[in-house]
Amino acid sequence: MIDLMIAFALYLVVSLSLNLEAGFAGVPNFGKVMFVAAGAVVAGSVSGRLAAFILGVNTHGNYNGFIAQIITQLDSSLSGNAVLSIEILLLGVLLAAAIGASLGFLTSYPAIRLREDYLGMLLLASAQLFQIFLGGYEPLIGGTQGIEVPNLFGWAGNGIEVRDVVVLGFLALFAGLVYFYAERVARSPLGRTLRAVRDNEVAARALGKDDVAIRRNVIIIASAISAMAGALLTFYVGAVNAESWTRITWTFWIWVMLIIGGAANNAGVALGAFSFTFLFKVVDQVKFYFQGSIPFDVNWLEYLMFASLLILILAFRPGGILPEKSSVTLPWRTVAEIMGPKSKARSSSGPQFGTPERAKGDPDEPSSAPTT
């Protein structure tokens, strides 16, 4: 149950960040795994070294070579020192966010220049390359072998359940914050601007919105959030290796959640993440009952199942379970009052609004209404 909640919280965070990018800003990020993995890498390679440096553990100049020995020493010192553990945890997460943000900044360079299909290819290929790099470059996280990460929740008690609850507390707080932030963005003028940029770039630019900067910022923020999620996952699992960061686990599954739930709707994405995690868990529980009776691994069926589910949803309910809501707008009368009698007279001549909800929806720029 607790691991279900933990998985849900993590998936929720990453899918919300994807929702910011793909749902609201229209940047199809097919390389999500790259950003999550970047966070995990930071957590895996930096935090252990940092802890070793602070606690004065001898690394013999070769951290990965003596990893088992070092981690044992670190764990025993850290389990008695809650404050330091949390400090290292927060530092690791912040650093992951910084790395994620800079990676996002790099990504935004092609992202604001290329069309969706080219960008999709580029990101997919880069993520693939990133994984190859992680697998090949051993000093970072030990390649495909992976390395252990110091247990930063050791102070919470030895019982594995207790530790899980504490981790869940952290993750729930984090996921709640991200959800709150995403919801704030969605309901703010910024959210409407994002949709405007997504739906009609030229019109948004004509209304004085800097679409390039907006897209770039969204990518940076979303990447930072995903990197933080990756770092937290690594601290929770206590180990990291390159094999677990594949196109399937952290790009495709996230897209499944987004599509099931409903893009550009945070509640929908949360629902999608939950249903996905829940389904996954159920399949996990059930599959052992008929594992013996079929001549192959049931995991493969999982792939097939979610792939077909995704295609079915795309075909029959493209908006997801909870489709995107149109923006809440002010009543036309209120807008007219704000704008004063002069513009009322002008607009009464012919209310020809192609996209009324966007034009009227931005109360901070009433002058845009008659220009549409």
Partner: protein, 308 residues
């Protein structure tokens, strides 16, 4: 391979992320034919072509066309091809588990190259067969597209569907045939490649970097460009890696795939429509002029030195 990807991109305007899996289909056809039926894998090539082609058409008709007719966006179509790729991973997993347990074959998920090649003049047969078949395919495709009526109709419907439709061409049939060819090419490539490289459930999807790089370099809108791009990417990857190993040591071979990606990034950022879009006259003429100027100057210097 890149030729096929370009063909499918031209028809549906969607990058087919599942394309690598068709390579895997070919690989597994060879594998099964060799390990189960103990027949030389070269005989599996036509079978692989057919299988890949049929699956490709099924994918087009069953998923992409259905979704496109329901008005799905470009991103939705891209995700659906990604979903198909994942489904393929599942199918290959099931298949490899199944033949592994049923026929008692080991290493069905990751197999080394099949030792079935004949040798001719001390070189493996593949060294003769692959270039010949590549040349045959390219020439056949070229002749088909330029000399036959259906080929011309296909090019027309790919380049300008509405105009082709006005002229009474069955655009839909042409598209289906394009997907048929594309799947077939990929599977053929896959069935050859397991003779030389190691294969497995995901070896095709791993190739996606090279395939996309080749297509993008050639320009996604040109079949000939894709063939050129494939040649360039393949050659540079091998050459640069060999050079890299010689210069920096063997660790660089891990990053072999970085080179195609780098080429792809540069292509996308500098000339996103690919090599065929470059106006070569505009590049070559200044270079020629420049070379001419330098030559002139050199001549002057030479004459000056000789004291004329």
């Amino acid at each position: 391979m890149a030729v096929g990807l370009t063909l499918t991109y031209l028809t549906t305007k969607v990058p087919n992320f599942a394309y690598g899996s068709f390579v895997t289909i070919g690989g597994y056809t060879s594998f099964s034919v060799f390990r189960i039926n103990h027949v030389n894998p070269y005989f599996a090539v036509p079978l692989a072509f057919l299988l890949g082609a049929v699956v490709s058409v099924a994918m087009y008709l069953g998923v992409l066309r259905t979704l496109a007719r329901r008005g799905s966006s470009l991103v939705a179509l891209m995700i659906s091809t990604l979903a198909i790729d994942i489904a393929f991973v599942g199918i290959f997993g099931i298949y490899s588990d199944y033949i592994g347990s049923y026929y008692r074959i080991e290493n069905t998920k990751n197999f080394f190259r099949l030792l079935a090649d004949f040798s001719l003049f001390g070189l493996p047969g593949l060294f003769y067969v692959t270039p010949i078949s590549l040349a045959t395919i390219t020439i056949a495709l070229f002749l088909f597209l330029t000399r036959t009526k259906f080929g011309v109709a296909m090019r027309a419907s790919v380049e300008n569907p509405s105009l082709a439709r006005v002229l009474g061409i069955d655009v839909e049939r042409a598209y289906i045939f394009a997907w048929f060819l594309a799947g077939g090419f990929a599977a053929t490539a896959g069935s050859f490649s397991v003779l030389w490289l190691q294969g497995g459930t995901t070896f095709g999807s791993g190739l996606i970097v090279e395939i996309f790089a080749a297509s993008v370099l050639g320009g996604l809108a040109s079949v000939y460009g894709a063939a050129l791009g494939g040649l360039i990417i393949g050659a540079t990857e091998i050459l640069l890696t060999q050079t890299g190993i010689a210069v920096f040591g063997s660790w660089i071979s891990i990053y072999q795939k970085g080179f195609p990606l780098l080429i792809m990034v540069i292509t996308l950022l500098l000339f996103p429509r690919g090599l065929v879009s470059i106006n070569w006259h505009r590049i070559i003429r200044p270079i020629a002029v420049f070379v001419g100027l330098i030559g002139n100057r050199l001549g002057e210097i030479f004459r000056f030195v000789r004291g004329e």
